[in-house]
Structure formats: C-alpha cells, structure tokens
Symmetry: C2
C-alpha cells in the first residue's frame, strides 16, 4: 500500500509493532522531547535550543533536529541564504506529540518535588 505524505514510516529496523515501542524508536531518548518542548515554547533557532537550561550538546542537538525532520515531526525553513540560517517548526504530526508532554508534566507535577511549571503554553506555530 502506498503511504500518503502525512504518514510516518515505521523504520525498517523498528523493534516491534507495539505503538509504545514505535514511538520510543523515534523520541525515546533524553533529548528529542526537549527539542519538541522548546518548539512548543516558541523557540525556532539552533541557538535558542542551545540556550535552554538543559545545555544540550551541539552535536546531539544537530542529530536530533535531523532525526525529527526525517521523521516528519519538524520542518526546516531557511530565513537567510548567505550564510544559510534555518528555523525549525513543528508539523501537525510533531505538534500532536503535545499530549505526551502534557502527560509527562502532570506526572512530574504530582511526583517530583521542585519542578517548575510554565503557566501558559502557547499554541505552537505549525508548518506542514
């Protein structure tokens, strides 16, 4: 069956057909959802992600952005040609990860003392 452009392919090396496992194949690490969180918070540029308090290493950030783009979760747009400078935006699929972040936030609020909650998370700017 031909896949439509709105579908995300399961990588050939996915571990199982379990939905949780398939999601973890894409975002199952310490950093990827931090980038998604930053996009929800209105950050779009490499330097903005780097400036987040988690101090994400440059090479890891570059790798995660490439992986998110390849998975169809973010879109890269150049806002300057010379030297080339890009901004990143959530796609609809990427923005649909929001409930996962919210569930994490609610769990942390309940069980991890000391976390600081952002009062109002703005709707993300979406580019498909």
């Amino acid at each position: 069956m031909k896949k439509s452009s709105t579908e995300i392919s399961i990588p050939d090396d996915h571990r199982s057909a379990c939905p949780v496992a398939c999601v973890l194949d894409i975002v199952g690490d310490k950093w990827t959802l931090i980038v998604v969180r930053d996009l929800f918070l209105g950050k779009h540029r490499f330097g903005e992600f780097q400036a987040s308090p988690e101090a994400m290493p440059t090479n890891i950030l570059a790798g995660r952005l490439k992986r998110l783009e390849a998975a169809g979760l973010i879109k890269k747009e150049f806002y300057q040609d010379n030297p080339p400078r890009a901004e990143y935006f959530l796609t609809s699929q990427g923005a649909a990860l929001g409930p996962i972040l919210i569930a994490m936030r609610e769990w942390a609020e309940r069980y991890i003392p000391g976390v600081v909650l952002v009062a109002n998370i703005p709707s993300p700017e979406i580019r498909d």
Copy 2:
C-alpha cells in the same frame, strides 16, 4: 525539607527544573517505558520481560529494573529464596505513568501505520 517516602527525588544531576526534562531523566530512553508497558501487560519476571518482541538485551534490562526500583517506580519481591528469584510490580507512582503510555499509543495509532494495538489493557497489580 525532609522528603516523604511517597516522593521521588530529583537526582542531584537533573538537568533543569522543567517537568518534561525531569521525567526524561528517569524514563528518557528506548527501553524503560517498554518495561513499564510489560508490567501493565501483567509481566512480572525477568524472563517474561526478556521474551518480549523487542528483545531487550539482558544487561540493559537488569540496569533498567534497578533504575526503576531506585526511582520508586517498581517494587522487587522475592518469590523464591534458593536460588533467589524475584518478581517486579509497579508502585502507584509507576502505574501513574499510564497516561504517558496512552498518549504515545494514541499518537502512534494516528501517525504510524502498521502498529498493533492491544484491545484491553488490564489494570496493573500495584505494590507500594
């Protein structure tokens, strides 16, 4: 302030006070939530986790079980003394990760073709 036994400590090396980052400090990898999923599915023994389709490497499984126990998300109980054999159960805190798994499942159902959904997830057996 003294922490109560029902609270999970933020590790000293947590990356920030962001709730999402703090949750990822605990479960942000490819495997930990697979173990939590298995516990929801009624698996309790090392060999049962190993037999899951994701083929989790033994050393990684042992490490994740230790980490989950240290974080207060699972409880280890010995059902045999000689040789010692243990079973693992979700604590209330661990079972409260359920909404994160459900949010992942819903995202996967919507965006990843080919995932296989378990019809009825039983309520997990909880030990605090």
